[in-house]
């Protein structure tokens, strides 16, 4: 079965918009699963304060996140094709960058950017799958984290916990949601595998 899974996933392309806590952990999980092509997009640099939850290392502080993450992924999966784009996403470049992706993972920090990406994709590429993350702050409360589907849009998270001074983003909850996003990506991409097995 694992061979069949790898065979399907190696030809797939997943785009990840933002590689902070959600995006970096999701990218690593997808790369370990054998997704053949991953496009990571972010313009930020690694900061010491990122290391409590994002997939970077102390000696990478100051490096561009996309290039640092590409190196980290290549360490455990050198065969994967990682396209690292040091770009700030906007309404104009989103379509061009993600048009060949099977799925777009929305992993921004900021709610305005989340909305902008979802609206842009819904308008320009309504057939495209989006797996978004919303509501990751704080700790505990495992059982209120969920995935909601609306057509081709999936939203993972608790839908209520906004990051603030009193409710910071911490590794476990962010990584749980990041991995729920990755898990949802696999469910979408492997849908036909299950159908074929049943026949």
């Amino acid at each position: 079965m694992l061979e069949k899974i790898y065979k399907i996933l190696k030809d797939k392309t997943v785009g990840i918009a933002g590689i902070g806590g959600l995006g970096s952990n999701c990218a690593v999980s997808l790369a370990r699963s054998g997704i053949g092509n991953i496009i990571i997009v972010d313009f930020d640099v690694v900061d010491k304060t990122n290391l409590n939850r994002q997939y970077f290392f102390y000696n990478q502080i100051g490096e561009k996140k996309v290039f640092a993450l590409k190196k980290n992924i290549k360490k455990f999966n050198p065969e994967i094709n990682v396209q690292a784009l040091d770009v700030k996403l906007n309404k104009l470049n989103i379509v061009e960058i993600f048009k060949n992706c099977d799925i777009i993972v929305e992993a921004f920090d900021n709610a305005e950017m989340k909305q902008m990406l979802i609206e842009t994709v819904l308008l320009a590429m309504p057939e495209k799958y989006i797996v978004s993350g919303s509501g990751i702050a704080g700790w505990g409360r495992n059982n209120i984290i969920k995935t909601i589907q609306y057509d081709n849009l999936f939203i993972c998270g608790d839908g209520v916990s906004e990051v603030s001074e009193s409710l910071p983003a911490l590794c476990p909850r962010v990584a749980v949601v990041a991995n729920m996003q990755a898990n949802q990506v696999l469910e979408i991409l492997l849908e036909n595998l299950l159908h074929n097995e049943e026949k």
Binding site: D109, A111, S134, V163
Partner: protein, 67 residues
């Protein structure tokens, strides 16, 4: 009228309401929303002028900072 709101059936006294009224009535206070009616995206500038009618399938989702 009856509509489907976020996959659940909801009833309203009026025959039609605007998107802005719906948000007020259902207490959607989050700033960053994505709204679709029958699959069509409704942008913020049209919330006050877009009407929701009987049997419409309305999706209101809010997005929260953090990632």
């Amino acid at each position: 009228m009856k509509i489907t709101l976020n996959n659940r059936e909801e009833s309203f006294d009026n025959d039609t309401i605007t998107v802005a009224d719906l948000l007020k009535e259902k207490n959607f206070t989050f700033k960053m929303l994505v709204i679709k009616i029958n699959g069509k995206l409704i942008k913020k500038e049209f919330y006050s002028s877009t009407l929701i009618n009987e049997n419409d399938n309305v999706l209101v989702l809010h997005l929260i900072s953090g990632g």
